[in-house]
């Protein structure tokens, strides 16, 4: 029987961690952009647009991410579209993230007191000027902690992509366990690597919060 050293385990996990990081980054960026578009559609759009965005958010918040991954992977395959696992995972996580971020950010906009909108109105600011110069900066400050909190959830949520065969950190951990029969060591290393990914994000959030405390 082959002997695996701790370094063998770590090395292979580190290689897989790149995919967790890449998937998380894709979900952040894609989800952030789509989420921002949804938010703008919701605050500036008409009644029908608002209802459509609201329905979108409800669907993605009301179903498990696991099901969304299954549907993106197996559902599209059923329709004859052959989707690679990385694309299905990236797309599902982007949509999932966008729904939550749109809702979180809407809450932040609404947390800015009405008087701020009214003061900006009375100064003849246009809608986009109000968002950009008055309400947006204040919502941004409110929005950092919940946004980062959710992004940390997304990093951990990428583990679910393992069930559709995407080889990221968790999937790699399972495969290495099957080869080494040392589940405790392997999963302890996996957990440590998730922590290494998440912790800097939380740290950055605290620094960002501090620097936003006083708008410049």
């Amino acid at each position: 029987m082959v002997d695996f050293t701790l370094w063998d385990i770590l090395r292979n996990l580190l290689l897989a961690m790149r995919w967790t990081a890449a998937l998380s980054a894709a979900a952040f960026v894609g989800g952030g952009l789509v989420g921002l578009a949804l938010l703008l559609a919701r605050v500036a759009g008409g009644r029908a647009t608002r209802a459509a965005v609201s329905a979108y958010v409800q669907v993605f918040q009301g179903t498990p991410l696991l099901m969304q991954l299954f549907l993106a992977y197996f559902g599209l395959a059923l329709l004859g579209v052959d989707v690679p696992a990385w694309l299905a995972a990236g797309a599902a996580l982007t949509l999932y993230t966008s729904a939550y971020l749109a809702e979180i950010w809407r809450g932040c906009l609404e947390a800015v007191p009405r008087g701020q909108w009214e003061a900006a109105d009375s100064l003849a600011l246009s809608f986009s000027e109000k968002l950009r110069h008055v309400v947006g900066p204040q919502a941004l400050r409110i929005g950092v902690p919940p946004t980062v909190g959710f992004l940390v959830q997304v990093i951990k949520g990428t583990a679910l992509a393992s069930v559709i065969g995407f080889i990221e950190l968790t999937k790699a951990g399972t495969m290495i366990t099957n080869a080494t029969f040392r589940p405790f060591t392997v999963y302890a290393c996996v957990a440590l690597m998730y922590f290494v990914l998440c912790w800097p994000v939380s740290l950055a959030s605290r620094r960002l919060e501090r620097s936003l405390r006083r708008g410049r």
Binding site: G115, A119, S122, S126
Partner: protein, 249 residues
């Protein structure tokens, strides 16, 4: 008393406003002359704040017409609203300064964005206006470092920066500690002396009596009684006004 000159600067005709089934303004006719100072008094719920907020479009009305300086107020027409609001300044009970901007930037923001004035120009104007309200040294301070009275004076400077022809004051001293009311009222009084057209909803009856040319008493969504302050406070004609004035003492 400044009589209503040829064309009123604020012209309100048969204005009606509903919140759902509840009609809060039941046909308001009011003309305000250039340079006139009008105090609006009445119980809470009489519609006085709502009337004021209709004048710059913060509230939509369902019926009637409203003009400021010859510009009709048209809801849903963003360009017309922007044009009209540049002529109407407003000061709020809760100050509503922008907390993420310094005092100077609060005053500079709107002229820079809306009137497209240069930064140096805006800054010079902001410094002059802050000096005028007695806060020259607070240009770089943050709103939350100021007392309520100082914040309200910054709010006045911010509104003046747009060079409005009409100023709306919505219970601007109601959120202030009693000892800070005077400093704000003195600034408002100086505006009145300089010929600014003022509409103010106020609970400061002594101030209304001293500064205003005309007092409007609102009751149940209508202008119930209107006239020069000496007449309105001295010899109220309707039982509702008499009762209202009696309740203040």
């Amino acid at each position: 008393m400044a009589a209503e000159s040829a064309a009123p600067i604020v012209d309100i005709r048969a204005l009606r406003k509903r919140f759902g089934a509840n009609e809060v303004l039941k046909g308001i006719d009011l003309g305000v002359g250039r340079g006139e100072v009008v105090a609006i008094i009445g119980r809470s719920g009489s519609g006085k704040s709502t009337l004021l907020r209709c004048i710059n479009g913060l509230e939509e009305f369902q019926d009637g017409a409203l003009q400021v300086d010859g510009r009709p107020l048209r809801h849903g027409d963003a360009r017309a609203m922007r044009e009209l609001r540049q002529h109407v300044g407003m000061i709020f009970q809760g100050f509503n300064l922008f907390p993420h901007l310094s005092v100077g930037r609060n005053v500079m923001l709107a002229p820079g964005l809306v009137k497209k004035r240069g930064v140096a120009d805006c800054e010079a104007q902001a410094r002059a206006l802050l000096a005028r309200v007695g806060l020259a040294e607070k240009f770089d301070a943050w709103p939350d470092q100021l007392s309520g009275g100082q914040q309200q004076r910054v709010a006045i400077a911010r509104a003046l920066a747009m060079q409005p022809s009409v100023m709306l004051c919505d219970e601007i001293t109601s959120a202030l500690d009693p000892e800070l009311v005077g400093e704000v009222l003195r600034v408002v009084e100086s505006l009145a002396e300089e010929g600014m057209t003022l509409l103010m909803v106020t609970h400061e009856m002594n101030f209304a009596r001293k500064v205003s040319d005309r007092v409007v008493f609102m009751h149940a969504g209508r202008i119930h009684e209107m006239g020069p302050p000496a007449r309105l406070f001295g010899e109220p004609r309707t039982p509702e006004l008499r009762q209202f004035l009696a309740s203040l003492h």
